[in-house]
Structure formats: C-alpha cells, structure tokens
C-alpha cells in the first residue's frame, strides 16, 4: 500500500509542495530535451533524404566538438577554428557521399547501415589520432557564449538557470526555424523533400542526388557541431559523449524516423520525462533511472504506435 502511495501519490505531493524544485527540474529536462532533439534531427534529415540510418550521427557530434577544441588547442583562434570545423564537416559530407553513398547506391539498407557503423570507428580513430583521447574543455568563453547563471527567487524558493542552457535553447530553436524555412521555401528544400519521397523521380526532374546528399550530410554535420558545442559546454568533450548521443535512438522511436516535428517533440518528451523520473521516482529504485527510462518510454510507445507519434502513416491508394 505504501509502495503504491510512493509511486502514485507522493511524487505529485512533492511537486505541488515544492514548485520551485519542479520548475528547476522541468527546465533542466527541457534543455536536455532540446539537445536530444537536435541529435535526432540530424538522424531524421539523413534518413529522409537517403534512407540511411546514420549510426555515426552521435560520433559526428563528438568529432565536430573535438575538432573545434583541438584546433584551438593547437593555437588557432576560436572563431577561425569554428570556421575551419565547418569546413571539415563539409569535407566530411563530401567524402561520405563519394566514398560510402555513391559506390553503395542501390545496395540493401543494412549494408549502408553497416557502412555508417564503420564510419563511426573511422571518426573515433581519426579524432584520437589527431587530437588525442583526453577529455577536453569546451572553449565556451572564447566563442563568446555566456557562463554563470540567472537566479530567480520565485515560488518560495530559488530557481537557477544556467546562461549556457538558455543560449542552447535559443540557438536550437533558431536552427530548427531556419531549417524549417529552408525546407519549405527554397528550391533546395523542395528538392530535398522530393528526394526524400522518390529517388528515381527526383533524378528525372534533374535533381542531382549526389549534390543533395552532400547538402544533407553537411546540414547534419552543422547540427552536430552546434549540439557538440552545447553538450561540451555542459560537461566536457570526450568520446564518452557518444553514450548521450545514443539517447537519440529512443527519441527517434518516439517521434518517428521521418518526422522533423517528431524529433523535436520526442526530444522534449524524453528530456523532461527522464529528469522528472530521476528526481521524483528515482529514489524509489535507488537512482540511476535516467539511463534507462528513455528506452522504457520508447518501448511503451512502440507497442501502441509502431510508426512513432509523428511518423508517416503512408497515405497511398492502390
């Protein structure tokens, strides 16, 4: 009885009893969710445009952050390092298209998936070789990102928002907005949607798949770079971040593999869900709930909606 009470009643009593803590928890969940959403967004972009499930998306994030910090360590000024990193991500996109996608076109999906698996290890190896394997600190202040916190005395307590988190939320929202407009309004955006829909037809109207793939991988690389900077600023830059990147998987299951809004909403649900779970229900099972709760939520969704919350129910007339 008391066990049921502690599951179904007590956490809510706590929430109402200490609203300041609730707000704090929600905020942290939100910021985590935004970053999950960005990683998932990179997956979705690539999956939609090329049908490739990009296992390397998480590593691309670490690789981008590492390149940025590593270049700076070697004495390159921060913003030049940023520009160079963007170039590197462009080169990576180009190389992926040339070396992986083009030769493997029309191969089964699983082959392409394995290829991205390979890419993961290439990137890890390359990163460690060039920049070393030690955890590094993100060059937050050099990039003029804010630090410190904003503290509010509200709801009978103290709510503290890290400025870097606020910046992350704003930058993430801007990126999503720009991407949305890009998809809806531009010729390339329309071409991307076309390629996502039917490769053969896209070719026949003169859309170059090679070019689109480069653009998509480059866009995903930019998203990865932004995400890497944010995550790096919250902890540090090392290949351990990859574990966090894998959180994108439940986000994708939740939101649907092909839906951009799904990636965003899925990210927020997972982010907020796991923080609330950890804080209010975690003590019941001795903590550590954060590491698996996301998968638990995703599995529950999978049972009822295999296509995810926002995934396409293919509308097709036969």
């Amino acid at each position: 009885m008391s066990f049921l009470y502690s599951i179904f009643v007590d956490p809510f009593v706590q929430m109402i009893g200490a609203p300041d803590l609730l707000v704090q928890t929600l905020w942290e969940g939100l910021v985590g969710g935004v970053l999950y959403a960005l990683i998932a967004l990179g997956f979705v972009l690539i999956f939609k445009a090329s049908g490739v499930f990009n296992f390397a998306q998480g590593i691309m994030m670490v690789f981008a952050a590492l390149t940025l910090v590593g270049l700076h360590e070697k004495g390159v000024p921060a913003f030049l390092a940023l520009a160079l990193t963007i170039l590197v991500m462009g080169a990576l996109a180009f190389a992926v298209e040339r070396v992986i996608l083009r030769p493997l076109v029309n191969q089964p999906d699983i082959i392409l998936f394995m290829a991205t698996f390979g890419l993961t290890y290439v990137l890890i190896g390359l990163g460690e070789l060039v920049f070393g394997g030690n955890p590094k600190n993100m060059i937050t202040s050099e990039l003029l990102l804010p630090s410190g916190s904003l503290d509010f005395n509200i709801l009978g307590g103290l709510v503290s928002l890290q400025k870097i988190d606020i910046a992350a939320a704003i930058i993430a929202s801007l990126m999503v907005a720009v991407l949305a407009v890009f998809f809806q309004r531009t010729r390339i955006g329309r071409a991307l949607r076309a390629v996502a829909d039917d490769h053969q037809a896209a070719l026949s109207v003169g859309i170059s798949l090679d070019q689109i793939w480069v653009i998509v991988w480059f866009t995903a690389g930019l998203v990865a770079l932004a995400t890497g900077i944010m995550w790096g600023a919250r902890s540090n830059v090392s290949f351990a971040l990859e574990i966090i990147a894998l959180k994108a998987l439940p986000v994708l299951i939740l939101g649907g593999l092909t839906s951009v809004p799904g990636a965003i909403v899925g990210g927020l649900i997972i982010g907020i869900g796991e923080k609330l779970g950890e804080f209010y229900w975690g003590p019941l099972v001795g903590g550590g709930i954060e590491s698996w709760l996301a998968y638990f939520i995703a599995l529950a969704v999978l049972l009822f909606r295999p296509q995810g919350l926002f995934g396409e129910k293919i509308i097709e007339r036969i």
Partner: protein
C-alpha cells in the same frame, strides 16, 4: 506568358537524338542488341514490342539511367559519354515512369513545381526570405505551372496530395511535372498502362496536344498497339532486344516480321 508563346513550334525533320548500334546487357542477359534508330525534332516516335523486348531498357539508356556497353548516342549533335540522369534532365530530356514515380506526400502543384527545379536560379538566400528577384522568379514559375494545370485540366486537384489521387490522375500529374521542365525530348514509359478506356482517350489527346502546342518531341513506349498506331508518326519495333522494324504506322502494321513477333500474338 502563355505556354504556346513560350515554346515555338520546331521544324520537324532535323535529327534530335541518334542511337547507333547500342547494346546493353545485365550480367549475361543481353537486353538490347545492336539497335540503331533516330528521333527527329517535332515527331511522336513510338517504341513498341512484346514484354521483355527491351523497350524500357532503351528508354533508360536514352535517359541516362543505364549506360550501354557498346554503341553511341548523339543528342543535339553531341555524342555523349556516360551521362547521368540529372544531366539528361539538364539537357532537356524529361520522362515519366511506367509505375508513376511522383512525390506522393506533396500536392499536385508542388509536384509540378519540382519540374521547374533546374530553371530556378536565384540564390537560396533570397528564396528564404521570399524577397526581390527570388519572389519574381517564384511567381513566374508558379504561373508556368498554372498554365500546365490548365492545359491538363487538373485545377480541381491542385492542392491535393497526389498519393490520394486515382491512378489515372496521378499519371496526368506526372506528365505535368515532365512538361514543367519545358523539355526538348519527352520520354513516356507506357503512359496508358493501367488506365480505363476513357482515361486512355484523354491521355492520347493530351499527348497529341503537347506535341502540337508545345512542339515537344515525344518518344513513347506503349503496350497498347492500337493507341500507338493512332498517335505516332513513326514506330520502332523491338523483339528480344533486336530492332525488327522501323517506319510509319502503316508500314509497320503490314510488316511480316512484326506480325509474326508481335501482332500475331496479340488479339
């Protein structure tokens, strides 16, 4: 800007595309054996043959989806080496597919607009903001697409996602998308497959109108031989990858080899 004014009628007769001794095989299977023919500007050229005769392979060769092992293809006077499909599109070759390849999640209008991809030049920065020259350009393209929508009489489905449309209308939208490219050479892969009689009549009329109004050269593959006889100016007949006849409909109709290979087996 009217469609008719934008595309002056071309002089018929000059060779637009020349296929010389082309052979294509997949592994050990020879799909096309030493086939030659030419397509002249302004004509409607049909490629017919029984199933497996190599018709679609031929279209895919012209369009750049396949690369022949032997032979030469000369298009607009230039002999091409390996050309990729989007390059073919850039040079004015548009096509439709046997099983309709549309962007099913997009509306009719958006599908047709994709046909304008190659003709949109303004930087995507301006497109982002729908500003200045990009806006003017967008309006011009939209206008052109509206002309096509009017031409094909598909106003009613302008805003409908094409995935929900009946098959016959999907084929029409696909033709519209190809027309939006303002092609010099339009390749139609079984434009009437799977249609009912009335839809076939409509499609025939559109094909003839496209040829007459836009002056577009058309090469079409068709199974329905009756339709082909009425539509085309000249016909190539393939059988097991070989060309067995080439000429005007009435010549082909009376050709012994054709009757044996094809007409004989079709009632």
């Amino acid at each position: 800007m009217s469609v008719a004014a934008a595309a002056p009628v071309q002089e018929a007769g000059e060779t637009l595309l020349n296929v010389e001794n082309v052979s294509l095989s997949f592994g050990g299977v020879r799909a096309i054996r030493d086939v030659s023919f030419e397509i002249r500007r302004g004509e409607i050229r049909a490629i017919i043959g029984p199933n497996g005769a190599g018709k679609t392979s031929m279209l895919n060769v012209i369009n750049g989806f396949y690369h022949p092992q032997l032979g030469r293809i000369t298009y607009k006077g230039a002999t091409r080496r390996r050309m990729r499909p989007h390059q073919a599109a850039a040079q004015g070759i548009a096509r439709t597919f046997q099983n309709v390849a549309l962007f099913k999640g997009m509306t009719t209008l958006d599908n047709i607009l994709t046909g304008r991809t190659l003709r949109m030049h303004k930087s995507f920065f301006w497109q982002l903001w729908r500003y200045g020259p990009a806006l003017t350009e967008e309006i011009e393209h939209r206008k052109y697409c509206e002309e096509i929508i009017d031409f094909l009489e598909i106003e009613r489905i302008r805003r409908e996602p094409v995935g929900r449309l009946p098959y016959g209308l999907q084929k029409r939208v696909e033709l519209g998308r190809a027309l939006a490219m303002q092609p010099d050479l339009l390749l139609l892969d079984e434009p009437m497959a799977g249609m009912n009689l009335e839809e076939k009549e409509d499609m025939s009329r559109f094909i003839l109108d496209v040829n007459a109004e836009f002056g577009t050269t058309i090469a079409l593959i068709e199974h329905d031989i009756g339709v082909v006889m009425d539509l085309s100016d000249r016909i190539v007949v393939l059988d097991y990858g070989n060309k067995i006849a080439d000429g005007k409909p009435e010549e082909v109709r009376s050709d012994r080899k054709v009757i044996d290979a094809y007409l004989g087996v079709v009632h």
